[in-house]
Symmetry: C2
Amino acid sequence: MLPVPFTNVKITDEFWAPRLKTNREVTLPIEYKHCKKSGRYDAWKWKPGKPKEPHIFWDSDVAKWLEAAAYSLATHPDPKLERQVDAYVEMLEAGQGKDGYLNSHYSLVEPDKRWSNLRDCCELYCAGHLIEAAVAYAQATGKEKFLDVMCRYADLIDKKFGTKRGQMRGYPGHQELELALVKLCRITGEKRYLDLSKFFIDERGRQPHYYDREAHKRGDEPRHFHFRSYAYNQSHLPVREQKEVVGHSVRAFYMYTGMADVAAETGDRSLIAACKRLWVNATQKRMFVTGGIGPTSANEGFTIDYDLPTEKAYAETCAAIALVFFAQRMLHMDADSQYADVMERALYNGVLSGVSLSGDRFFYQNPLAVFPALNEFRTHHESSRRQEWFGCACCPTNIVRMLASLGGYIYSQGKSEARINLFVDSSAEMKVGKQNVQIQQATKYPWNGKVKVTVRPERPAEFTLSIRIPAWCRSASLSVNGKSISASRNKKKGFARIKREWRPGDRVDIDLPMPVERIEASPKVRQTCGRVALQRGPIVYCLEEADNGNNLNDLSLPKDAKLSSTRKKDFLGGVNVITGKAVRRRTSDWNRELYRPSQSRTETVKFTAVPYYAWANRAEGEMLVWMHEG
Amino acid sequence: MLPVPFTNVKITDEFWAPRLKTNREVTLPIEYKHCKKSGRYDAWKWKPGKPKEPHIFWDSDVAKWLEAAAYSLATHPDPKLERQVDAYVEMLEAGQGKDGYLNSHYSLVEPDKRWSNLRDCCELYCAGHLIEAAVAYAQATGKEKFLDVMCRYADLIDKKFGTKRGQMRGYPGHQELELALVKLCRITGEKRYLDLSKFFIDERGRQPHYYDREAHKRGDEPRHFHFRSYAYNQSHLPVREQKEVVGHSVRAFYMYTGMADVAAETGDRSLIAACKRLWVNATQKRMFVTGGIGPTSANEGFTIDYDLPTEKAYAETCAAIALVFFAQRMLHMDADSQYADVMERALYNGVLSGVSLSGDRFFYQNPLAVFPALNEFRTHHESSRRQEWFGCACCPTNIVRMLASLGGYIYSQGKSEARINLFVDSSAEMKVGKQNVQIQQATKYPWNGKVKVTVRPERPAEFTLSIRIPAWCRSASLSVNGKSISASRNKKKGFARIKREWRPGDRVDIDLPMPVERIEASPKVRQTCGRVALQRGPIVYCLEEADNGNNLNDLSLPKDAKLSSTRKKDFLGGVNVITGKAVRRRTSDWNRELYRPSQSRTETVKFTAVPYYAWANRAEGEMLVWMHEG
């Protein structure tokens, strides 16, 4: 099974379509401006002694913006945007070395230091992002120049790195190139790009350790590595021996994505097994309820199993996006709905929270509780306000490309199967075997779980239509052309599989009831004991001060409290809110004492919860996902 | 009123006496060894090019050890210990400059940089600690050499600093000298030491700011100050304009102590008012239930009102000790039991937790919850194990002097009043006016609230005996020579005041019932909402993994759960434990899911809570003060 490419999917729904429009019309242009203003876009014009010296990761920021522009151009032609991309490609080509070398920092600032610090300096990471952008741009526009430029660079890297005499046995300190090379292989048909990706993956973590040798060569002590352990960049062990998701989360999940890509191409069982082990550890022990990952700012990543803080959660926007990538790859290696469940959880919550409803402000970190009064003691990455831009601008440029390519995550196609992974009002042109099939979903998802699917094969044909039954849904029902069928009896690994001869206009009705659920986390998650999160359908909710006053932590939800969901069309871009009654201690009972013998008299208060992704779009205030219960 | 000096108090009780013995016989010698081994003790012998170069704060560590040695020598003569002190004093005298200058770092390592960076470099801080030690040593032994050396240094400082032409208008970057100079004034009778202390206090925070000018002079940009705001060292405003306790907690509370000392000597009303305001802010909004202060490691100090984390609490041992100092000064300026209540809270909990029962291991940080699995992601300051020593050894040397001088905190004496501040089985020789009075307490406090006080004036005399009625006690009862009197009717600012003609052998019986209390914190403390701490008498309790298994956060105390206190003589050096029944989720109900719709079935489990001060004296494991309730 392969994803149906986003170019074949038309998103028409009330939830995503306005967001994608904002992404296109606000986010893309504003990020162009930030890239111009900060010097990123014009990095190749920089001259020594001038300000805005190209930073080691700048190419990657522009690259993600280019990739997003490409996705946008594929579905919404825009000459001005296309000129902006082309102009950058011109600069890139002009800046490329005769040998194919291409990195604005190392080409212009430190030409003698190329390849000398793979561990810290993002050189191969930038290459990967530029390759992804070039692939997307070729797919979107048919223009090949960008791709040619990047192939020349990839060829240089392929010559430099490898196990042959005279080659370097290094690998990216920030993984990304691995997955990009598989994309490059797929579009060019050149297997050596896949082999190079496989080399990077196989070489990683071997002893003697490349980063030790590299450090010595620089005259550096390996033990002076800022992050101490190579677990930071997942090179502490060969990848097939890794059992826990560790270190920097974005590095980790880009690598797992690349591993899954290589495994999908090669069928490498030990690599597939490693991917599955890491998936299990991540999703059963190290993932926030929002689909965010990475608890701590210390390494922008992981600590230990079940360490899932609320206020201190790092949950970088990029990391949730990387989890979506990995989930999508796993889903196409193993048709199990758990991968799509996680993908959905991240997309609707921890990814989407990364950008404001207005499309022009961004979160780097996505905590699960916020107390703005502490902002002055935190960095702007950790602020309770979305920011316009960051010195390290990975998150804004990542979310713009994620949203622009969303169409590619909804459907999958195979020889005898068409599959619906996500519920989005949309239509898709698929190839099921040799047959062209149009699948259309009509739905108000995620606010309503009713989905009408219309199947339109060119002509009647037997194949399986697989429909994901979300893990959050306890009582799905299905009917085909009005005739009820058992969802559970037809379910395999979480997908209802309907095999029949499909005729143009056949209809499947899906009903996924969406009561408000109280979610509890494992008792091993110490930070959420005694607390519940509210979820309805795929949407995780939170309390905001704007609706509920402050001291949100003192609200407690009685175990028997009724919870209602109400549609509010003109609120926060159109959402369902959850309302109910909770209790809180009477503050009027308190004088000035800080501690006293417990005598808590409570009062009943109404509360309103809003979707987590929509928080921080009003007055700044407290926010809380996990609410006390009892 | 003045404290009855510790030299006149004999502590005989089962709680403190064994601790003071350990302090004397284990802690003092072991700290001497650490000071020798690390190079601190022999700093004055250091030669350029040799290892163990004297660090800018080393003098202060040895000074606190010297001070502790002095207290110990006063009550327990020990020729070996006295020789160790004398030998150091010899080195000190030999190292002293002709002008009186005395700092091992600046004298030996950077002689040209004296007085150039008061903001960061602890020069005046070291002076203060050495003065405190010299005063204590003179009081303890009658030997004057150390005091003479320090007077010469104080005279130099007095010459260097001031408002006269040619003098520097600087002040300590780490406050401490202010309170030391008041001690020096009291022992020598030299008012200029008090004036110098007052100068430092009055000058602090004035504009143009001394640290700005000083930085410029060094060729440094003031805005490059690592801690950004001068709130870090409480020089952001003149001290009389300060309303909140901010910045580094030890700096803050040493300064407040110095302010109170100067205010007591001068009667300066604006200074008294500032002290009271800061006290109120500290104890009503910024103090842990253990009497610890300072929530964050970022500045080793304060953030905002009601920010009182549990697991992340910094609560430095030194800061709790500094709070005891400030409380004691306030108590002697204003006979209000709230000061003694806080002093007691800190002493029995957040101070005492700083040292192991064995006396040879120390906490720098005293968090209110601990998850040892996270140790590898934290510094050794933040470890869940007490450490043998620290590179910055302020806490071990502070607690050894605190305990050695404990006797000085129990009683106060005035013209017509004798006062009991703390309940400790002990006897004290006091001066009430011109009358010698012996007061004796017989009690099993803090495990039992019955206290028998015997009053023995030389001859019958009228005066007031004031006895603190602790704020934790809801129903104190009192009797004099067997005849009951009303505690509440005789109470003034928290002290029961019994004025009568006292005759030798008169007895007061105090009964302070000690039920187990559930303590709640203000709803504004977000980290403890929905939770209670257990307290009995002055002792705050915690749960440890050794008694209760792990996942302590998942324990929940039903509101109606019965709580019992049981004496355990041979457990943790003799404690009362609290036992009861709590509920926890059945982990057997959980498969591998991380999140699920709430369906929590619970099981009832017995739990045991131990005194907070005694935690981490067994197998390493989780610890929790604030327990879920409901």
